[in-house]
């Protein structure tokens, strides 16, 4: 181990140190000055972004460290920077919610930072052990976050379900990894790829291992038929936690799929492509159709996540750099849009209850025209209306699927996007054409409103000027 190696992992080391600092500092901060913890956590993200950008690698350059268990490349750097930005937004949104619901505790920030560290470890993993450890770090932190509101029966139930299903998925993934290790003789993803390229390995063992790995990935992404946990966890978790789960870990899910399937198992592309086609098709159909029947907007967004993960898989299954870039663009776009949508639910919630019913959106345009307008843009983007970010994301992945020869699947995706537009537009209709049920003004702190405005405008601006983000994603897979 050399200093150069440590420097490569500087963002991870910094986030770990700061998570421990936040943990300790929070002990000495009294409840009415808890804002300091928040400030410290946001500053951590700012400096982590600076540290990552300082040695941003040029496209195509890949550096390994710690006996090849850690990899630094452009894909990881870009994804990490977006993870910091989105998590900073989540922190600002969450503060308003946690204050209102008496959950404003230091543990939220500590556990979120550790979850971020897990995301970073997964993004930078070049060894199956590191992939698994990063996944577990993220998962353990999120299980605890879901149960953070100890007095909520739904929260505990959701955490229990999440924990049991998540552990099962981790076990399956680990089992698959051990079978692949048995067949190829290495845990290092580059070595696995080389061994597969050389035609090594018992094909029976490899296929079994691959099936388990794909199931593990599908569980973590929430793809049908491994989606059962998604609606219950989104519904039961406190809004701020659902906001977190629906944004940053999706980037990690993408990294998990790309690191394992592309960096390690590209030699079995023909096998996993077929599995992903089935998963993507089922997710698109079930996610969009079942979302229509939901009256709870958190559950609706959960089914919407399932369908969006189906879209993302369209890009991954192509198995080409263009496909991966499209999937990466989709994951980033989805995380931004989803954070915005949950933020609006937080905005209209008050300390008594979460405004998680569709009726709560009635007449929002009259109560608060600007934020209703922002929500409308975010919903249009989620639905895939042209000029918004979501449209270009969908366009990219569908183009990737067509490029890989899956025209039928692409047609299905378009049809499902049209069906999905119904339930997004229903919320717009409730906001603009229904009378409000109560007239009370909607207030939020200035930082919350500022970030929400940036978020809403970003959905439009990144859509109109999507070329920059697309170029960035393409440069990650040179």
């Amino acid at each position: 181990m050399t200093v150069a190696e440590l420097q490569l992992a500087l963002p991870e080391i910094f986030v770990l140190t700061m998570a421990c600092v936040v943990l300790l500092a929070d002990l000495f901060i009294s409840q009415d000055r808890r804002g300091l913890t928040h400030l410290l956590a946001v500053l951590t993200l700012v400096f982590a972004a600076i540290l990552t950008l300082r040695v941003m690698l040029p496209p195509g350059e890949v550096l390994y460290a710690f006996s090849d268990t850690f990899v630094r490349d452009r894909f990881g750097d870009v994804l990490k920077v977006f993870a910091y930005i989105i998590l900073a937004g989540v922190f600002v949104y969450a503060k308003h919610y946690l204050r209102q619901f008496n959950l404003f505790k230091g543990e939220f920030y500590t556990l979120s930072l550790f979850a971020l560290l897990g995301v970073m470890v997964m993004i930078s993993a070049s060894n199956m052990i590191t992939v698994y450890l990063g996944l577990e770090l993220l998962a353990l932190s999120t299980y605890a976050l879901v149960a953070l509101d100890r007095d909520s029966r739904f929260g505990s139930e959701a955490a229990m379900k999440y924990f049991i299903l998540g552990s099962l998925a981790s076990g399956l993934l680990l089992y698959g990894m051990s079978l692949i290790y048995g067949a190829t003789g290495s845990l290092n993803l580059a070595d696995v790829s080389a061994a597969l390229g050389g035609g090594a390995g018992d094909s029976m063992l490899l296929t079994f291992g691959l099936v388990f790995v794909v199931i593990g990935i599908a569980f973590k992404l929430g793809a049908v038929p491994f989606h059962m946990w998604v609606p219950d966890v989104y519904h039961g978790a406190p809004l701020a936690i659902a906001l977190f789960i629906s944004s940053v870990p999706k980037l990690a899910g993408l990294a998990l799929a790309i690191r394992l399937l592309d960096n390690g198992l590209i030699g079995l592309h023909g096998d996993w492509q077929g599995m992903l086609v089935v998963l993507a098709a089922l997710s698109l159909v079930l996610g969009n159709v079942v979302a229509i029947a939901q009256t709870n907007i958190k559950r609706m967004l959960a089914y919407s996540t399932i369908s969006h993960m189906g879209f993302m898989m369209l890009g991954i299954l192509a198995g080409t750099p263009e496909g991966y870039a499209a999937a990466m663009f989709y994951a980033i776009a989805y995380a931004i849009m989803s954070a915005g949508a949950f933020a609006v639910i937080i905005l209209i919630s008050n300390g008594d209850r979460e405004a998680d019913q569709l009726e709560d959106f009635k007449g929002l345009a009259k109560r608060n025209p600007w934020h209703a307008f922002l929500m409308m843009m975010i919903l249009f983007s989620l639905a895939g209306v042209p000029v918004f970010l979501g449209f270009f994301a969908k366009w990219q992945v569908i183009a990737a699927a067509i490029g890989a020869g899956f025209t039928g699947l692409a047609v299905l995706a378009v049809v499902m996007a049209v069906i999905g537009a119904f339930y997004y537009l229903r919320v717009v209709k409730l906001m603009y054409f229904d009378e409000p049920e109560h007239e009370s003004a909607i207030t939020a702190p200035v930082d919350f409103r500022a970030v929400l405005t940036i978020n809403g405008v970003a959905v439009l601006a990144l859509g109109i000027f999507s070329g920059g983000l697309i170029t960035l994603c393409v440069s990650a897979f040179v």
Binding site: M1, C20, F66, S67, F70, T110, F114, T130
Partner: protein, 200 residues
Amino acid sequence: MGAIEIIFYLFSAILIGSALSVVTVGNPIYAVLFLVLSFFSAACIWLLMHAEFLAIVLVLVYVGAVMVLFLFVVMMLDVNVNPLKEGFARYLPVGLLVAFAMALQMFLVIWTRGLESMPMPEPKPDDYSHTTELGMLLYTKYLYAFEVAAVILLVAIIAAIALTHRQRPGTRKQDPARQVQVKRSDRVRMVKMQSEGEEN
């Protein structure tokens, strides 16, 4: 039959005997203690195979920590064992089936490979230490993974405390600061009353 065989059969017999006792004895405390004995015998068999690190870890972790914890739990929870013993005849076929399946699996593995494919490991030189070798690997090649695993344990601690440590209304708790400030007058009340004996 050499010394190694004698030792092997001795500890195997103890292992099998104590394992049987774990499930047959009536008193749960005895069952836990028999489990300790079976772990210990297993550790001795590990030693025979030159796996001294595994043997020590088995004793330290399982016997020293896990089983002691078990003993605490068994002693603290007043488990009524009688209902657990019911339905022995009903569950017997399932138990036999599982035992048969496991025996079959072991037989198939040994029968297809042959015992010769699994020879005794060659003894290492005297200055060779498994602990050193493992340590070298953990702190050089797998340093990064090792550190991440340590962070996972830290998160487990934080999560456990965050989820269990809270003040619920209605629970009784001690406040040491107030306890030491207590004065005699707070606790003792002097009551004047006539003595009983002198009245008659």
